[in-house]
């Protein structure tokens, strides 16, 4: 009886986990700007990871595999948000500097068209900047 309950439960967890993975993936591709995309990607880092690995955990029973699964779960739950934090921080710092992402998002709301435009702008800004800095480098080396 208990085994069947666990089996069904792991089935449900894995399927729902798969659903959340998919949702996060679609969000990361479709959402209009960087911060929203990061939000979507974080879903796969937290709830989906938890559900998928939890489902496997119920399958594994009590073996050495359980310990490893718990270790993976803990490490992913630790590193995922940390990487997201560092990434958001880096993006925010450089975003403030290039004045692209934030200004438009505050100004126009998050219409998809506007968002796309913003990111394109940002990219051209960045590429101009890097090419300029490269010229600097060359000058310096001369």
């Amino acid at each position: 009886m208990l085994e069947q309950v666990l089996y069904v439960l792991s089935w449900i967890m894995l399927t729902v986990g798969g659903f959340f993975v998919l949702v996060g993936g679609i969000g990361a591709l479709r959402l209009p700007n960087f911060y929203t995309r990061m939000h979507a990607a974080s879903v796969t880092d937290t709830i989906a990871t938890f559900l998928v690995l939890g489902g496997l955990l119920l399958q594994a029973g009590l073996t050495i595999a359980t310990v490893k699964l718990i270790a993976i779960l803990v490490f992913l739950l630790l590193t995922g948000p940390t990487a997201s934090y560092a990434l958001a921080n880096a993006a925010l710092l450089s975003g403030v500097k290039s004045n692209a992402t934030f200004r438009k998002v505050n100004g126009k709301g998050s219409k998809s068209g506007a968002g796309q435009e913003t990111s394109v702008n940002q990219e051209t800004d960045a590429s101009q900047e890097t090419s300029a800095s490269q010229e600097n480098n060359e000058e310096q080396s001369k």
């Binding site: 490490f75 934090y85 921080n89 890097t130 090419s131 490269q134």
Partner: protein, 327 residues
């Protein structure tokens, strides 16, 4: 079912490879290289090569990316745009691809048990390992004992490459006296509390996991090469979060050099000792009165040597690139 996964992953692999070659920003290309390596590892795993997948996992995502980034920060980030005459190259490449694909129809299919490669020594390795060495992981047995000579050569290649990198990068740059500023201490992850705390938390676990891979290599996927890379990655994490100087204080250059040379020396010495004890070079059976136990002892010793050398070499290479920036 698995073959569909493999086809899917391989298609992604081709797309990634083409994107790497087309990317004009080298930074982007290096990041796509990380994805490429992840895909390779997943493919290796699906094709039953757990040890190889672990090696690719330990090396591809961490060390390779870090070394490429180190080199990028010393050179240019963008590729120069030039008009290239691509026609000839493109036709050569296409013709060769088609020829290679044509040639594959002569090859045995994926998973064919009758393929010539499965008829030669492989069945012998699989059937004799439990009797002669008695460890479950046949890959480790072949690596450490049956083909130990080959592995010794590979260890010395790593050793030589490390020495070469150090020779090339330790010389001071004559043209570049004061132009490079020392990087200001106020930047980077060092001053972000959250990555630092999490990194400090993870660092011991990475090293512990490396040691597990090292000593569990006889029973599961793992061994000296993987363990060395994982521990080196852990110390690289430490260097990223605490700064170069702290990392160098923890593992100074002299220790790294001692590791690089000492590991290779340990490996060779095991071979020499077996010669003195009356066996052939790297024939561990003579190390103990029980030949099977002698084999196991020999494998543990040489795996330790491999791990120490790989860890030291990768760390020395990382520090050579990182220290170059500070001129």
């Amino acid at each position: 079912m698995i073959i569909i996964f493999a086809v899917f992953l391989l298609t992604l692999l081709v797309i990634t490879a083409i994107a790497i070659v087309r990317a004009e920003n080298l930074f982007v290309a290096v990041m796509l290289m990380a994805i490429f390596s992840l895909l390779m590892a997943a493919n290796f795993f699906i094709l039953d090569a757990a040890d190889v997948a672990l090696t690719e996992a330990a090396i591809g995502a961490g060390v390779t990316t870090v070394i490429f980034l180190g080199a990028l920060s010393l050179t240019a980030e963008n590729e120069k745009k030039v008009e290239l005459s691509r026609g000839v190259a493109m036709s050569i490449v296409t013709a060769t691809t088609l020829l290679l694909i044509y040639a594959t129809f002569e090859k045995p299919k994926l998973g064919d048990p009758e393929a010539p490669v499965h008829q030669h020594v492989a069945p012998w390795y699989l059937s004799e390992t439990p009797k002669l060495i008695d460890i479950p992981n046949v890959v480790t047995a072949v690596l450490g004992s049956f083909r130990a000579y080959d592995t010794l050569g590979e260890v010395f290649v790593v050793f030589t490459a490390c020495i070469g990198v150090l020779f090339l990068l330790s010389a001071k740059n004559p043209a570049d006296k004061q132009s490079r500023r020392t990087p200001p201490e106020s930047i980077g992850l060092r001053h972000h509390l959250i990555p630092k705390v999490v990194g400090r938390l993870l660092f011991p676990f990475i090293v512990l996991f490396g040691l597990y891979v090292q000593f569990h290599g006889e029973y599961g996927p793992g061994g000296g090469f993987q363990a060395g890379a994982i521990i080196a990655t852990g110390i690289i994490l430490f260097a990223l979060l605490e700064g170069e100087k702290t990392a160098l204080a923890a593992v100074p250059h002299s220790v790294m050099m001692a590791m690089v040379a000492g590991g290779a020396l340990l490996y060779t010495m095991v071979g020499v000792v077996t010669m003195f004890m009356g066996g052939n070079f790297l024939d561990y059976s003579v190390l103990s009165s029980n030949p099977v136990f002698g084999q196991q002892m020999g494998i543990i010793l040489i795996e330790a040597g491999v791990g120490i050398t790989v860890c030291g070499a990768l760390l020395a290479i990382f520090h050579a690139f990182a220290a170059r920036e500070n001129y």
